[in-house]
């Protein structure tokens, strides 16, 4: 280290060389993390995709050079599997739409809250993410069950006589998914909102715009980057959620993920299971790509308009 003279302002390039020579390059530092992610995510994913084009053989997980599309043909020629895929897309879409609406209003309300209460509000919004999914599902069973909070309340108030069936329905799945993914929608929108000049809604208001107009015509377009990233996350996570549909949707909730679980844990047809995973991933990636493409096209058109 004595080789280097004490210089107040070392040239930028010299410094970079010195640091990298002392630590090895930054590539060396990132190496372990890269290896872990490559070996733990990328490689297994690739292995699984290859497994999906192998001949279905229960209990077998080794790869051969005989490639076949048997599993994909089986999937796409059966109306049952189509209906499962469509139902999964439907549930994920409804969840995302509800989340987008609730998340936007929630983000605006946090944005308008005084800084003193803001931390508490954010904490409340995040809380579902920090509690195990099993606990959350159990909580909803207590709330939505035949003798749960809501039914007891309604019967007590004399509004209904027999308990409403809410648990183990698609409604319950959507409620549970919206509950857990709401923070993933709210926080990106809030981050976008924080960049909005607070004088703008005030200006709109002084020009006679009502609260609803300000929300929809002024704030909503300005938070669209946050909204898009929220929609992306919520949609793909809803597509691939397993525990909530399994616990809250009853035994045969007929979602892609419950089907996948069956293939891997019950019937041991891993090749078909792998094909199901590939189809699920392709669908959610496709939908997300479409969304991002469409928004960027619109943004470009809007920019060109001026």
């Amino acid at each position: 280290m004595t080789m280097y003279p004490l210089q107040a302002a070392a040239p930028e390039r010299r410094r970079a060389v010195r640091i990298s020579s002392a630590f090895g390059t930054s590539a060396l530092l990132t190496m372990p993390a890269c290896i872990v992610i490559a070996a733990g995510v990328v490689l297994p994913l690739a292995y699984m995709l290859i497994l999906s084009i192998q001949t279905p053989d229960p209990g077998e997980a080794t790869l051969t050079t005989n490639f076949t599309a048997t599993s994909y043909v089986k999937f796409f020629t059966s109306p049952f599997y189509w209906s499962v895929l469509l139902k999964t897309i439907w549930v994920a879409s409804v969840t995302t739409a509800v989340c987008a609406f609730l998340g936007f209003t929630l983000a605006v309300s946090i944005w308008l809250t005084s800084p003193r209460w803001r931390g508490l509000c954010v904490l409340a919004v995040i809380s579902p993410l920090l509690v195990s999914i099993v606990t959350r599902a159990f909580g909803w069973m207590v709330v939505l069950g035949d003798y749960g909070l809501i039914n007891n309340l309604l019967v007590h108030l004399g509004i209904i006589v027999t308990p409403l069936r809410m648990m183990f329905t698609n409604f319950a799945i959507v409620i549970g998914l919206v509950h857990v993914f709401l923070p993933l929608m709210t926080l990106p929108i809030l981050t976008s909102l924080d960049r909005v000049d607070r004088n703008i809604p005030e200006a709109a208001s002084s020009l006679g715009a009502g609260a609803l107009t300000i929300g929809v015509r002024i704030l909503l377009p300005m938070v669209s980057p946050g909204l898009v990233s929220g929609i992306t996350m919520v949609f793909s996570l809803s597509m691939s959620s397993y525990i909530l549909p399994a616990l809250m949707g009853g035994a045969d909730s007929g979602m892609m993920t419950t089907l996948i679980y069956q293939q891997f844990v019950v019937t041991f047809n891993w090749q078909f299971g792998a094909a199901l995973v590939a189809i699920l991933l392709a669908t959610s990636l496709g939908a997300v790509a479409l969304l991002i493409f469409e928004t960027s096209r619109r943004t470009r058109r809007w920019m060109a308009r001026r």
Binding site: R15, A33, G40, P44, M48, L123, S132, G148, T191, Y242
Partner: protein, 265 residues
């Protein structure tokens, strides 16, 4: 007049949203103090009976131990790897930096179910069947991205003139890193560790495919209990977990700020 009504309606709506968010958790806590063996909220008679039942349940105790060991080992393995990765990325001037950043987020982006299944396939093909090893492999992937994220976020706020000042005063790069940078970014690293630990402890998606009969984690043993019985002992054990999470969350908020952890920036 119209505006005032709209404003009032908006605040009522927001209050309703907060109720929607916290109701299930509050109901779990309330249900845990039940005297009877049927769920009723609020309880007709209050007692701590089900807490006793929960901590005497051998499956829960064994599950808690497994979860604790797996989450701890995974955090210990993932933290140094993640720190080094974040340092490397921070120092990197490569044009692939953004791609690298995205690559490090891969374990978050790929759904847990998919990670669990593909790990199961590969580990089975490699004849690795020890439950603990499989679980730890999966859980390192849960913790790692969060350590990288929080370390990077802290490094982004690090004032580069401190580095120059230390070097000017004769510190070697390693000394700067160890004595100047590390103490300053420590809260970020600890926040990543705590959050990763919580996620690992609570995880079901990845673990579901990697557990075997002897290494069932706590959330999974709660889940299988739920499929057969619906008594308040699940509420009691869940309340204990909520309590632990709540304390660590307050710690996180103090150390790092929760919004930064989820939304970046």
């Amino acid at each position: 007049m119209m505006a005032a009504i709209q404003k009032r309606a908006f605040w009522v709506w927001s209050a309703f949203l907060y109720i929607f968010i916290v109701t299930p958790l509050i109901c779990v806590v309330l249900a845990s103090f039940n005297q009877e063996s049927v769920q009723s909220v609020p309880p007709l008679q209050w007692s701590l009976r089900w807490y006793g039942e929960a901590i005497r349940n051998p499956n829960f105790v064994r599950g808690a131990l497994t979860s604790l060991v797996v989450a701890t080992v995974a955090t210990i393995i993932a933290t140094p790897i993640g720190m080094l990765g974040a340092f490397g990325l921070w120092k990197s001037k490569s044009r692939y930096k953004a791609a690298m950043d995205a690559f490090f987020a891969l374990p978050i982006v790929v759904p847990g179910l998919v990670t669990g299944i593909s790990l199961l396939i590969v580990l089975t093909a490699a004849d690795q069947s020890a439950g603990n090893v499989k679980l730890i492999c999966g859980h390192v992937l849960i913790v790692l991205p969060y350590v990288i994220r929080t370390t990077l976020a802290s490094l982004a706020q690090f004032n580069p003139s401190l580095w120059e000042a230390a070097e000017t005063l004769g510190a070697s790069p390693l000394q700067v890193l160890w004595k100047i940078v590390l103490p300053i970014i420590r809260p970020g690293i600890v926040a990543g560790m705590v959050f990763g630990f919580i996620l690992s402890f609570d995880d079901v998606n990845i673990s579901l495919f990697l557990v075997d009969a002897r290494t069932i984690t706590l959330p999974i043993s709660i889940m299988s209990y739920l499929q057969f019985s619906f008594d308040p002992s699940v509420a009691a054990i869940s309340t204990i977990l909520i309590g632990i999470t709540f304390v660590s969350t307050l710690l996180l908020e103090r150390l790092f700020g929760l919004k930064r952890l989820f939304a970046g920036g």
